[in-house]
Symmetry: C2
Subunit: 330 residues, 2 copies
């Protein structure tokens, strides 16, 4: 049983959400009785953005609540969708009469519960729409999804749709921009070591000491291939080639690159992966507009990395560069 | 042998430094033939700040090179001091005739090599001074030090001395401010799991599956106590009480708080630790001016946390809040 720095596994999400809010008490608050983080200064006169999902992916999603990104994040139990009731509370808390966009990762439970919450809100006269992020190129269907999984690319949807909403766009426009991000973002990940859910006695999967898994999901769902440990450069080639092959790329294209640690990966290894990814893109004449290296969408203490590419047009480029108070997205 | 996302262990530092520079190519560059990161736009007319040390503590120190913080960071091999030659190169690269301050963590090798580099620079007419950070309250002397170790508190020295230099202070003034930070910053850490140096076959130490180590150093040097795994709140109490007892604190005091992950600790656990630390400080009437939760001074993939408190007066408070382009210190 893997050691963790926690108290009672049953309280882990609530205590974590309290800890997140305490880190920036001037900007964030927790809704009473719910594991929901909202902005303290509710922003009137704009479309509100709500995201969320199971916990264990921190900083997703509470870490992205702030000016220029999300208005609320709903945290379910670890690797478990939040309830429709909780999502409904978040919608009510942030709605200012300009409509609410839900950013949902493509997992069956999340889709069902966010859609149910949207219906509850609509029944009360709140205008709600949603987009589904499905950026993981690894598998077509998976343990918890019909279609591709939503993973680290979701953060680009938060950032860019958040900037669009902050600029005063209406709900249909914010949704269209979010969908443009989804159409242009692709991710693939791998794991060196698994993670353990706090309430469980065992890791979510196991890998031999000379084995890695390519195409793994952010809950340890099976990937495309188990293989022998390779050099970092080979691993990055495998991941980035899968990502590149999934969209048409040409010399001169602009991209944003995210080298995402899965929770237990030291920064040294992420920077090493960034080096190879940069070299590959440079060789293809693809221009990296902005690089993000760090932990953006994790799987508890899983060790591994995912690589995300977002193909940028002029609008996406401008919105990606727009102001936000979320430090790691500046 | 623990799996790592690396290529050749011999090349790991150079490849990592290349990856760091590639992440912000508009702002950083690597010096040819050295694992040294410097600002691309050399800032004329101010005192230059240089830090560094063994690698494996990322983002320290290369991640702190930028406007408002360091002018150069020198990376030694993993857990190994950089050579006097390398430090000398960094000094020469950033000196603008206004003097250079070296921020050195208190390890015997670092002190010796940075002092030797300072002598080499002075022989060439460059004005150089240095400060030694020794914030770790855990042990008086240690495996690699006479006196206390320099750990995560070093980042506050970078930030505040960096802001002082950016404001146009002279070398003596920047040094005095750096020493004020050192006088007022204290840290204590703990480990749940060890790390492994890339070139080694074994972890730097080992802990049983129900055992943790309190007061451990950032290279896995022995701490104050091995004990059974406790709840997070108890661990935070142990660490923060040691830190608080080491300086006189009174109700109404202002502090900056850093909850630092050691490399393999998921954010969930860091936020949980932040919750308890906040509660303790609130109970004592100590006001937290700013909270930093994340990875600031790591030990490769070691799992664990350190807690740093910096007691703030008006000057330190203002300099801590001053502008910097280092995202995680904003």
């Amino acid at each position: 049983m893997k050691k963790k720095l926690i108290n009672n596994p049953e309280q882990v999400v609530e205590e974590m959400i309290e800890g997140i809010v305490m880190a920036t008490p001037d900007k964030l608050k927790k809704l009473d009785d719910y594991n929901i983080v909202v902005r303290k200064d509710k922003k009137e006169g704009k479309v509100a953005l709500v995201s969320g999902g199971g916990s264990g992916h921190e900083p997703a999603h509470a870490g992205y609540v702030g000016a220029g990104m999300l208005d609320a994040a709903v945290a379910g139990d670890v690797f478990t969708s939040p309830t429709p009731d909780a999502v409904f509370e978040a919608i009510k808390a942030v709605d200012t009469g300009n409509g609410v966009l839900l950013v949902v990762k493509n997992y069956t439970g999340d889709i069902m519960n966010f859609e149910m919450a949207a219906e509850m809100a609509e029944a009360e006269g709140i205008e709600v729409d949603h987009v589904v992020v499905n950026d993981d190129v690894a598998v077509e269907d998976s343990l918890y999804t019909t279609g591709r999984r939503g993973v680290a690319g979701t953060i680009f949807v938060h950032k860019i749709a958040g900037a669009k909403a902050a600029a005063g766009a209406d709900l249909a426009e914010v949704k269209a921009t979010a969908e443009k991000v989804i159409d242009n973002v692709r991710t693939k990940g791998m794991a060196l070591y698994p993670c353990r859910v706090p309430a469980a006695d065992e890791s979510t999967f196991s890998l031999a000491e000379d084995e890695i898994e390519l195409g793994i999901g952010i809950h340890g769902e099976p990937g495309t291939e188990r293989t022998e440990l390779m050099e970092a450069d080979q691993i990055v080639e495998e991941l980035l080639n899968s990502v590149l092959e999934d969209l048409p790329y040409a010399e001169g294209d602009n991209v944003a690159l995210m080298i995402n640690g899965m929770g237990g990966t030291p920064l040294m290894e992420l920077f090493l992966a960034n080096r190879k990814a940069n070299q590959m893109l440079q060789d293809k004449g693809i221009k990296i507009e902005k690089t993000f290296v760090g932990e953006y969408m994790t799987s508890l203490e899983m060790a591994g990395v995912s690589i995300t590419l977002l193909k940028l047009d002029a609008e996406l480029k401008e919105l990606l560069a727009a102001a936000t108070e979320i430090q790691i997205m500046k």
